[in-house]
Symmetry: C2
């Protein structure tokens, strides 16, 4: 890819343009808001001059509801050989493109899964997409060269391509992004209504939970509107779960012991399912599975014994991933099991022995 046209120089468009420019692609910037494209150009994202000849790829970074009509316009102009977009929903734009008789052989839908709380070109970063998933939604119409052009774009942006159908994509982002966004906003709304003294007790839990609620309401109303039914379906499910939670909690507040117990069982089951769901997304992206070894160190009951063991392990410059301590109730001494990455156990053992620990 030697040249690209980026239509729409908000956060995502400008970030794509910065990434492509940094890889030597000649990027031409367009925006109906000329100040926005000039800002992107000032950031080094490309030039506001139109390309002298047909570009290799046009990237439409416009709101979901505009993808179809902008695609029809730029294809009529013939600005590029291949076309893609970066809108956060895919079924609607795909239908619009068909309805407007766009060339769907040379167009493929796309959605880079990254963002920032701030919007606009000044929040853009060339590395915004690095290591993030970038969904592409080919159809039966899509030409292989079109897919390859989009794959090259994803690769130039340092992202990881994921191929999906448009409808499956929309359900997936409703699950991992759009419905959670609504939920975060509703929890934040409760904070908006509360008295200052209560709000002052807020800690990192609710702060992290509501972080995404700080995003631009107008932009997000657009995003949600373009995927409204998928989001509403998930929120309906959530409402049913919420109803169970409330019923369980009210039972826990009852005077009747049996009722309290059954309420507790309901609530605990919900929390347990939450724990499993959370475990599915807790692993770091792209983290390699690591194999571990264990070093077992008997410790005495002297106060601070474990603190000293940790300090000595730190001196060995071996990262202790986890610790379990086995104490038998009968005897005060215990056995500390230190988990370290494979290959580090021997180093740690030697270092601890040198400091007077007896290592099993």
């Amino acid at each position: 890819m030697r040249s690209a046209v980026v239509v729409g120089t908000g956060l995502i468009g400008t970030s794509v343009a910065l990434a492509l420019s940094s890889q030597g692609v000649a990027v031409h910037l367009r925006d109906t808001d000329r100040a926005a494209s000039l800002t992107a150009a000032s950031l080094g994202a490309g030039t506001v001059e139109p390309p002298a000849e047909m570009a290799d790829l046009a990237v439409l970074a416009v709101p979901p509801a505009l993808v179809g009509s902008v695609l029809a316009d730029v294809q009529t102009e013939g600005v590029a050989r291949y076309y893609t977009d970066v809108a956060s929903v895919k079924a609607g734009p795909q239908q619009d493109a068909l309805a407007l008789a766009c060339d769907t052989v040379h167009y493929i839908g796309g959605h880079p899964l990254s963002g920032a709380e701030r919007s606009g070109p000044l929040a853009a970063r060339a590395d915004l997409f690095e290591q993030h998933s970038w969904v592409l939604t080919p159809t039966a119409d899509t030409d292989t060269d079109t897919l390859n052009a989009a794959l090259e774009l994803v690769s130039l942006c340092g992202a990881v391509p994921v191929l999906m159908g448009a409808a499956a994509h929309d359900r997936a982002v409703a699950l991992v992004s759009h419905a959670p966004h609504v939920v975060a906003s509703l929890v934040a709304m409760q904070l908006a209504r509360a008295e200052e003294r209560s709000v002052s007790l807020a800690g990192p839990g609710v702060r992290d939970l509501t972080r995404i609620a700080a995003a631009d309401p107008v932009l997000w109303a657009d995003i949600l509107g373009a995927n409204a039914n998928a989001v509403a379906d998930l929120l309906d499910e959530l409402a049913a779960d919420l109803d169970s939670a409330v019923t369980g909690l009210r039972a826990m507040a009852a005077t009747d012991e049996a009722k309290r117990c059954s309420g507790a069982r309901v609530v605990e089951r919900l929390l347990r399912q939450g724990t499993s769901g959370r475990a599915r997304i807790s692993a770091k992206r792209g983290a390699q599975p690591v194999r571990y070894e264990t070093v077992a160190v008997p410790i005495s009951d002297r106060p601070g014994e474990l603190a000293r063991l940790f300090a000595d392990a730190a001196r060995a410059e071996v990262n202790v991933e986890d610790v379990r301590l086995e104490h038998s109730a009968a005897q005060p001494a215990g056995l500390a099991q230190l988990t370290v990455a494979q290959g580090s156990a021997a180093v740690l053992e030697e270092s601890l022995r040198a400091r007077g620990w007896s290592v099993r």
Copy 2:
């Protein structure tokens, strides 16, 4: 305070004990699970030996439902002059203490607002409470010396004391902690049910939102149960808001234009209220209000001009807090407004001038 008894050596009890020990207080550790108190002692949190004489303060770090009965027991034993607890709900324990005819002159309820995803003594840290709020709930019975003993505890742990009534406290923590915990768990439950391909698209937004859902379900069922009605009241409100959101979203998916617009208005209003609520808790704790100055730099339309300005500002080692760019559509050149902390503008201006920028 020279001596303390910590009853219950889980995460919170052991962290209190570590903080007190590090400040030179003689800490005596008790737990019905002897292995837990031995582990706490191995960490340097104190000794498992009982105190030779009456301690200054007893800190009950036991589940909310047990505070009353444990308080009755240790007061009968006479282990300390003053008593407090660290349970995350306050009205129930206060009622239990009254019902069990405890000495409420020398007991004051307390709740340090900090925690960790992991539980148990091995997750404990001496600095767990530093800069966090620690609610104390005095009643008309509470003696001033009792309050002062608790204030000394809070101070030794590096926390910030907040005095509230028990019921107000419980409503506040339902708002900022307990109800959000249920919501995070319900969103995480939806991830538990979903197919892997969808879950693989999860990003930092939903990961942050569900972080607290990773906590121990048994411990949290206890916490929620002890504050069940206050939590259920908030979740009932949330259910009503959720219902409005779903109605708004369904309207946004309608074919009728007027209906779509009214749906969009409903959804945007919810998001906007969420943004205001979030803004109430976004400020960093203890952050001082900072005053700012602005440096205005005219920039040309050369590509990358703004990128060069940022690079030159970085060389001046002045932290640029915010940037606004004023472009008039008519002319390609613009005016970059760099916001810096008060006192830094002169340094930045001089440095930029030396690098060839004309600064206004």
